[in-house]
């Protein structure tokens, strides 16, 4: 049987590679693979996340100043993780489990006071709605009615969670469990239960589950050392001060903390940063900002709304036989000549060097210009597990680059057949907030530098500049409309609307939930803040009869066109003239209407209307 498996795998692999090659051709036509989004989830397994939430009475106590209760905050957090998973990582599995409940609900009901609200599965519309139902005043009531608050046995709860993981048939690559609680001694000093919970926690950790504590504010402060320090996973490195973090008192902090942990870092590539011959430092390449797009539509069978599969096949038009990729070649046509290459040749042309980052040298930061931007930057962090010693070289390099205000210029080859790009590696030192949570991660940002072809020359208009008083007036306006920009402040209204629509359809809602379009200027507020300033500025820069809103100045039409709208008279071309053009290969200089007229004039039949088709037809006719 093992032999058989190997054989099947081999067959599948071999033909799969071809199929993929073939399949991707459509997208790959422009010769550029979709560079940076290339995280291969299918090959690495699923990520999973279990929310283990304390449902004791303490969790339902509201904070001062009508702050939401810890339970309410947690539910809002769970909801936002659910929806963000649906949008940005729709293959991840999530579960929601309560402990310290009165009621029990788990597969064999073998665990008391543990309530599995959501099994480990993909989050969907219904689940989002469920969690919504647990929010706010009403949610607390619902929770009370369905689950109630009772005894706490964290050990049993953790055991129950470990069953969730083991019941999953899929390969899980990353397993995380987050405990949300505001009680630092869940068992109230019951040493036996504490011990049990610690044992279960270490069992879980042994199977690769990472346990985090999302501790919430409680009167008197949350003392991690009393119990939880032995339950949670050790920090990723000895210096991480994870547990000294203050408990979260605000939803925003909690969300930030959950978000930072909930997403598994995935590198798009792990490669060597080559400083010189024989000096290779291992690094991972990460994406920290990449445009989220609406996913592709899928096709469903009308009768049952089940997805259908699509099969693409290549046929020979004449014989009707199926073609393999090897039965085809690739062509491009330039200046009337067809240039043929093998598929392999097309691929190998793109190869320059093996994947990696190659240090070219260093430049002062001021050499990096604002307009050096082509696509989202990458983030570079050492991979000590690949090459020991990498982190130390990296740290030294990062520190000195940062202190000397220089960037490293590197040649970047992501995968085997990807052509090189140059990156400016800009150092970024770590920054932490008051609660010792990381705001800015240590590492280099790789800024993609344009090639000469990528910069366009513009004809810049010669226009008068503003006077000091005009500039000063504008400064007042700028002052009035100041705000603190935050990169996570704007939601994408197109995506949000799309998902609201899907949500509404999935839940049979009458209408989708309203989205607030944060990209729209708040015109009323702006006008109010500006008061008379806008008018004053206008008076300073615009003459009274000038209308800045009007259509851009109509193009001054040439005088002869003023008379009427008559078309240019047709210019008949003599045959000699035309033959001259054909001989010189100058037909391309004529406009499409002229070419069409010429076709008519010389009785040339054309099937298409494309310029090249007209030219080809004329050439064929006149060189007969």
């Amino acid at each position: 049987p093992e032999m058989w498996n190997v054989l099947v795998a081999r067959l599948l692999h071999a033909s799969m590679a071809q199929w993929n090659d073939y399949h991707h051709e459509d997208e790959d036509v422009d010769g550029e693979e979709r560079d940076e989004s290339g995280v291969d989830y299918t090959s690495t397994g699923r990520d999973s996340l279990v929310f283990l939430v304390d449902a004791s009475k303490e969790m339902f106590i509201k904070g001062e100043d009508e702050e939401p209760s810890p339970f309410d905050m947690t539910m809002q957090c769970v909801r936002s993780v659910y929806t963000s998973k649906i949008i940005s990582s729709d293959k991840d599995l999530v579960a929601l489990v309560f402990y310290g409940t009165e009621q029990s609900k788990n597969p064999r009901n073998s665990f008391k006071h543990v309530y599995i609200y959501h099994d480990l599965d993909l989050p969907g519309a219904r689940r989002v709605q469920d969690v919504d139902g647990l929010r706010g005043e009403k949610g607390a009531q619902v929770a009370g009615e369905t689950m109630g608050s009772g005894n706490t046995n964290l050990g049993e709860a953790l055991w129950c969670c470990s069953n969730l993981y083991s019941d999953i048939k899929l390969r899980l690559s990353h397993k995380r469990l987050m405990i949300f609680t505001c009680r630092d001694t869940p068992h109230g000093g019951d040493g036996e239960r504490d011990r049990q919970a610690r044992t279960k926690a270490s069992d879980l950790k042994e199977t690769g589950v990472v346990i985090d504590l999302m501790h919430l504010m409680k009167p008197g402060g949350f003392d991690v050392s009393l119990f939880f320090c032995d339950v949670v996973s050790p920090p990723e490195d000895e210096a991480e001060l994870g547990l000294q973090m203050e408990p979260c008192g605000k939803l925003e902090d909690l969300q930030k903390r959950v978000r930072a942990k909930e997403m598994k870092k995935r590198s798009v590539a792990r490669l060597n940063l080559c400083l010189g011959e024989g000096m290779n430092v291992a690094v991972g390449v990460y994406i920290t900002a990449l445009q989220a797009r609406k996913p592709n539509a899928i096709k469903l069978y009308r009768d049952n709304n089940e997805p259908v599969r699509t099969k693409t096949r290549l046929y020979h038009t004449q014989t009707g036989s199926l073609l393999l990729p090897s039965d085809t070649k690739r062509v491009q046509v330039y200046a009337g000549r067809q240039i043929v290459m093998e598929k392999d040749e097309v691929d190998v042309i793109k190869k320059f060097s093996d994947p990696g980052l190659e240090l070219i040298g260093f430049k002062p930061m001021e050499r990096l210009k604002l307009h050096h931007h082509l696509r989202s930057a990458v983030f570079i962090y050492p991979e000590e597990e690949m090459v020991t010693g990498s982190a130390c070289v990296f740290t030294a390099l990062l520190r000195r680059c940062s202190e000397r205000n220089v960037f490293a210029l590197c040649k970047y080859t992501r995968i085997r057949n990807s052509p090189p790009r140059f990156l400016a590696l800009v150092p970024q030192k770590e920054e932490v907030d008051d609660g010792q949570a990381q705001i800015v991660a240590p590492g280099f940002h790789g800024i993609f530098l344009p090639y000469a072809d990528d910069i366009r020359t513009l004809d810049t208009p010669q226009l008068p500049t503003a006077s000091e008083s005009q500039v000063d007036k504008m400064k007042e306006i700028v002052h009035k409309l100041r705000f603190k920009y935050r990169s996570d402040a704007f939601e994408n209204p197109v995506l949000q609307q799309h998902y609201r629509n899907l949500e509404a359809l999935a839940l049979d809602l009458m209408a989708p939930e309203h989205i607030e379009d944060l990209t729209m200027p708040n015109v009323n507020m702006m006008d109010q803040r500006l008061g008379s300033l806008a008018q004053e500025f206008r008076d300073l820069v615009y003459p009274a009869d000038y209308n800045p809103e009007g259509k851009t100045a109509p193009k001054r039409k040439p005088a002869e066109a003023a008379g009427g709208t008559e078309k240019k008279p047709k210019v008949e071309m003599s045959e000699d003239e035309l033959r001259g053009h054909v001989q010189k290969g100058n037909l391309g200089k004529l406009t499409v209407p002229v070419l069409k007229d010429a076709c008519k004039q010389f009785g040339v039949k054309v099937t298409g209307t494309k310029k090249q088709e007209l030219i080809d037809a004329l050439t064929a006719q006149l060189t007969k």
Partner: protein, 582 residues
Amino acid sequence: DNSTLVLCLDVGFSMSNSATGQEPPFQQAKKVIQKFVQRQVFAENKDELGLVLFGSDNTKNNLAKDDQYQNISVHRHLMIPNFELLEEIQNDVQPGSQQADWLDALVVCMDLLQNETLGKKYERLNIVMLTDLNTPSSPDQLDIIIGNLKRAGITLQFFLPFPVDGGGSNPPHGGKALSREQQQGLEMTKKVMMSLDEEDVTGVCNPDLSVFKRVEKRPMAWPCTLTIGSSLSIKIVGYKAVCEERPRKSWSVVDAQTHQKDDIKRDVVYCLNDDEETEVQKDDTIQGYRYGSDIVPFSKVDQDQMKYKTDGKSFAVLGFTKQSMINRHQFVGTQVLKVFAPKDDEHAGVALSGLIRALDDLKMVAVVRYVYARNGNPQVGAAFPCIKEKYECLVYVQLPFMEDLRQYSFPSLENNKKYTPSEDQLSAVDSLIDSMMLVEEDGEKKDLFKTVPGSYHIPNPQYQRLFQCLHHRAVNPSVPLPPMDPWLTTALQRPLAVATRCQAPLETLKKKFPLKEVVKKKELKTSKELFGNSLGTGISTSLAVWERVGLHSSLGTGSSASLAVWERVGLHSSLGTGRSTF
């Protein structure tokens, strides 16, 4: 918007002379021309181009009379460049055994331009001279020629096989001293260029010899109105300033035997997820989306009705913020826009200038809602002030939406004792940085490595290589593809000076920082060991397997049984591509 250009190539005998080990100027110049024509052909540029050779054994030009304008040959009249021209250059353009006055050749070129552009409108008329200036030239008519060039609006570019920065009398570094003719010729070229207000005298020994000054297409204007609140508007025009340039053509699939596109048909069939793989008609399918675990039918019509809509073009200021609040590593999107006032609108110019200068003084940016057109998606971006000697503008870059961000945290490096470098190690890094600075500051700043325009800049190597191969294959259909152009390989490497300088610091660095590759057992099994060497033989596999593969790869979240197989296969194929897990 037509421009036309005459290449004027010196094929005289001195062009074949070179110092040992160096390529003769003729070969260098021929390459420049080939690269340029190649570029024009592949850009399917409709600009006409002529080729004039001087120092040729034959004489063929309108002005030749008696002993005047001898050994100057109009090799090609103004025509759109094509592969025939490339073939001619490759096979027929050879060094001659004569000499001709480069000023005479220039006059022939001017005459050619004048005659053959008569009655047509041209945006630009160019002449490009490639010569070593090694022929005696009579300067007596220089002023008349300059006058004629100016009057005809002809621009001139010189490519010379020696550096010109050293001045006429100083011997160029590394090369032979210039001959008297060359010194005199250089003085004359400089005079011509000065009076034409041109800066372009380029030494062919530059590494960027093949990157001709490109005659570009005019960028698309995007007229719009910048708004601040409801009562302040400024008319603007945006242009793409930076954007990844891609070739306009793509590969199409043809039958391997006939090379005909029409012999191949692509066929898409839809089938149910059952054991029989029942085929269904396209008309029996509807559109849907995944929403997490849900599959939601959502017709195109409904979608269009319910989707987010904008009310057209927009460049609306949402507010102003400090430049320091905008992280450049969070720029998203694939372009940089430059925003000006309309060319003929000085009031808009003043108003926009007011905004640009105010932002520049305050070190702030405008955060803007940008919508390209009615059916475009809205963006939020930053408009930075940009004040240059010759112009002012806003530079617009797209910023991320919340959904685009991945806020990863990474373990601390500085606070980790294991990774803390010693003073000794830090100073080793310092010497490496010192030795590898690409910007030298001896009196004048000099950049040794530039990817963007400047004295040394790198064109996208992907396209240089692609066009090199296409050119080769077009002209020699049955010959294997050539190796990469050496200049291109060199251009992508550490500059020689830096590579030499950093040797010693690098050695020290190696000693100070021990590095050890971690070999994990899992990695030892390469795809070769797993599958043997027979990977390629899969090509002959039957249709049955072909289709089954289709099944597995199209499975997104289908039944879990086959999913398991999919994942295993996925694992193996990731080993195969060398992207193995560590």
